[in-house]
Amino acid sequence: MAREHLLKVGVSGVRGVIGGFLTPGLAASFAQAFGTYVGQGPVVLGRDTRTSGPMLTHAVNCGLLAAGCEVIDLGVMPTPTIQIYIAHRKARGGIALTASHNPPEYNALKLFNHEGLFFNQYERSELLDLFHQSQFTQAGNDEIRSVKQDFTTAPALHFERVLRHVDADRIRSRRFRVALDGVNGAGSAMSVEFLGTVLATRLEAIAVDPTQVFPRIAEPRPDTLTDLAALVRRTGADIGFGQDPDGDRLAVCDENGTVLDNDDVLALAVQRALAHTPGDVVVNLTTSATIDDIAARHGRRVHRTPVGEANVVERMQAVKAAIGGEGSSGGIIFPAVHLCRDSYTAMALLLDLMAETGQTVSALVAGLPRYTRLAGKVPFEHGRLGTLMQNLEASFPDAQTIRTDGLKLLWEGRWLHVRSSNTEPLLRLAVEARTPGEAQTLFDEAWRRLTD
């Protein structure tokens, strides 16, 4: 029996449905715990375009001020832009109000440390303990600071950081025709400025009104980007970009109106990054082996982590990686700009790759190692998870086994990965192989074992 997850308070913060679940009181308390943890000083706050953003901004302001912090409110701002600003401003930390790709009735608090990075797992659990203990710093009248607003510094700062790592003049000189679906998200205005003005592309944009609700399912995937694909075909665009509401994820459409597999987008970015930047690659266990092939061409290592941006970022920082990301969920992390998932860096790297090679998107994708990926969800009963995993492992004795996040079984040229969802009693099954036939066989075999 699937439970509806109306509220989740955990190590990754607070996420829930507006209207009695994620309440202003809960948001304020969590913010006060955060302020207590990071200490008195400036804390940066920004939000995506959800209707609950202003209400939660006031709640978080209240909690932060009560802890004696000074709030720098960036208003509607993409998450990566907030992260870059936190580090630049030497703030104590920051909070992004966004439920990322979740539906509009959700919202969440994403928490960042003084470097604008996700808290690592130790910091996260410490903060959660503080929240539950309710032992907050309580500022008196003369310690209470105010909210300062700065809506303009952060976007310019973000653009400047990104442009250091691409040949902007070369991109501008190509006058690419670019299609954009901004999902009316936090990046709407910024993306129009970035693509249309800063990179001088001939921009065709839809859903770039931040005052409107999301016009499509918020997660940018092939099946949610039909409007973007149509726009590309109608306008004859060279490339199409689809953002999520907080501007960290990016999906890409080629010049034929075909939305790329997110693993291929990451692969193209990795290809572009490794050509110019030293360092290894970090991806999660579910990301395509394409990345291994590309890294091998450049003589670099690939490090694999459990699923989750925070896990990838933590490892990237430790190994000083050149680039990283999570294939299927879309979005790349390029530390030279900032250790965060950033659709602007991704857009710039892809446009730069096109300008540098003179190739179309479809041609660039055709040049990638070819794999077939299949994915599915298997409901399971609570308490059966361990048995299912063990049965699966036993039925493939010849595979190399990785058990850091669910179960990954690995062969030459193919793999399968099963892990349980954090929010529902569901197993996520992903397989990859060099040919469609091989992939289907492996998928069917695993499916049978899991549903027997």
Binding site: V17, I18, G19, G20, T23, P24, G25, A27, A28, S29, Q32, R50, T51, S52, P54, M55, L56, H58, A59, N61, C62, G63, L65, A66, P104, E105, N107, F136, Q138, A139, G140, N141, D142, E143, I144, R145, S146, V147, V213
Partner: protein, 453 residues
């Protein structure tokens, strides 16, 4: 014992950080958001205290979450909030202000439609919702919207200018101690717009520092304001608390005038134009009120101490039956202002009286019978207060008895009142006599109260 938090029918009040926390603010504002009918906006204003920044954010979050549009007036006096509720036809409002408490305190004060205080039944319902914590939050697509306005003080001044002839006050030399509160913003603007020429002191508004306790008691006036009167050759001096709902005064001779005098002074100027009407005052206020009322054929209705009792009494009469209502603390409500405690309106009414009479303030005051009032506080140590009151009552069997709030016994020339404070753990003892100090009566009472255990 310093109570750092108090949740009652009057609202939420406490020392910020020690007793009053963000959580209290969010929950109480959510209770108010649940209590109010949806549909019309809610007005919000705050006094200059720094903690008002934090509390404002919490109040906004909860009201918006309950689906109410909010109109934020910024830093204003409490009467300005009440005026705006009426002007904007709002569902109600919240003033963030601990008024006359020290700067480290703050409070939420709740108002219904037309800016009137919640009566006891409504306040009780609000408290019940707060304690149940079952708030009515709106879904994601029906949340409220915030509007920030900066014209509330001007609109309030327009309202005052309709009742008072402000240019007529120009010849008077008036010193005002703003106590670093919201009155500074209002009076500065009044000077700009109407050329009133009020001399403002302690007018810096930073919410962090106050020149002295923002209290309208006679002792503060004596110390802070009165010594300035003669050097500045002022005709009158006034002192406000942080949110300007109370006022105290000093005369042109440099004497602090008891806050008790505000009510009789205003009664004396209002009753002639509203003969036979009612003055609502509490059991601890001066008997001079009865003298003044007798001159103009008015009548005094005595009610228990506290704003709530005055509000409840007000609501049992028609507005046109009432000339004035208030307390001996310098908090006075006038019918022209829909019965809102308004220190600035009280000041203007007194200044008009000075103009009308063409007499200095000291001369006007000298025209009243002299009542001598003695007040003391005794720490509350015994729970057996009813027995104490019983004993005192037996001691004075010949006076007119009122047991509606502690014990008050009155004779034609004197009265006393013994009661337990609602805000602090103390017993208040007050005695007053016409023409001479009731020293003997006062000492007898104090002795009994102090020895009681």
């Amino acid at each position: 014992m310093n109570k750092a938090l108090r949740i009652s029918h009057v609202g939420l009040r406490g020392i910020v950080g020690q007793g009053l926390t963000a959580t209290h603010v969010l929950e109480f504002a959510a209770a108010f958001g649940t209590f109010l009918e949806p549909g019309r906006p809610v007005v919000l204003g705050r006094d200059p205290r720094l903690s008002g920044h934090m509390i404002r954010e919490g109040v906004l979050a909860s009201l918006l979450a309950c689906g109410h549009d909010v109109i934020d007036l910024g830093v204003v006096s409490t009467p300005v909030v009440q005026h705006a509720i009426q002007r904007l036809d709002a569902a109600g409002g919240i003033a963030i202000s601990a008024s006359h408490n020290t700067i480290d305190w703050n409070a939420l004060r709740f108002f219904g439609p037309s800016g009137i205080y919640l009566n006891t039944a409504e306040a009780g319902e609000l408290l019940d919702i707060y304690h149940l914590r079952r708030f009515r939050f709106a879904p994601w697509d029906q949340l409220g919207k915030l509007t920030v306005t900066t014209d509330a003080i001007d609109a309030y001044l327009d309202g005052l200018a309709r009742v008072f002839d402000l240019p007529r006050l120009r010849p008077l030399r008036v010193v005002v101690d703003c106590c670093n509160g919201a009155s500074a913003l209002i009076l500065r603007r009044m000077n700009e717009r109407f050329g009133c020429g009020f001399i403002l002191i302690n007018e810096r508004v930073d919410g962090r520092t106050v020149a002295h306790t923002p209290n309208t008691s006679a002792s503060i006036v004596e110390l802070q304001l009165a010594p300035l009167m003669q050097p500045l050759q002022a005709d009158a001096g006034f002192l406000f608390d942080m949110d300007a709902d109370r006022v105290a005064l000093a005369d042109e001779l440099g004497r602090g005038i008891s806050e008790e005098m505000v009510l009789p002074l205003l009664a004396d100027s209002l009753l002639p134009v509203s003969p036979g009407k009612l003055i609502i005052a509490n059991l601890s206020s001066t008997a001079l009120l009865e003298d003044v009322a007798a001159r103009h054929g008015g009548r005094v209705l005595r009610v228990p101490v506290g704003r709530q009792a005055a509000i409840d009494a007000l609501s049992t009469y028609r507005p046109e039956q009432i000339a004035l209502a208030g307390e001996g603390t310098g908090a006075v409500m006038m019918p022209q202002f829909r019965f809102v405690y308004d220190g600035i309106a009280s000041m203007l009414a007194i200044l008009h009286t000075i103009c009308d009479r063409g007499q200095p303030l000291s001369r006007i005051l000298a025209g009243y019978p002299r009542h001598h009032i003695l007040k003391a506080e005794v720490p509350l140590t015994s729970p057996r207060i009813p027995a104490l009151l019983e004993e005192l009552q037996e001691l004075f069997p010949d006076g007119a008895l009122d047991r509606s709030d502690g014990l008050r016994i009155a004779w034609p020339d004197r009265w006393f009142h013994v009661r337990v404070s609602q805000t602090e753990p103390i017993i208040r003892v007050i005695a007053e006599q016409r023409d001479r100090e009731p020293r003997e009566l006062f000492e007898t009472l104090l002795d009994r109260v102090r020895r009681w255990n």
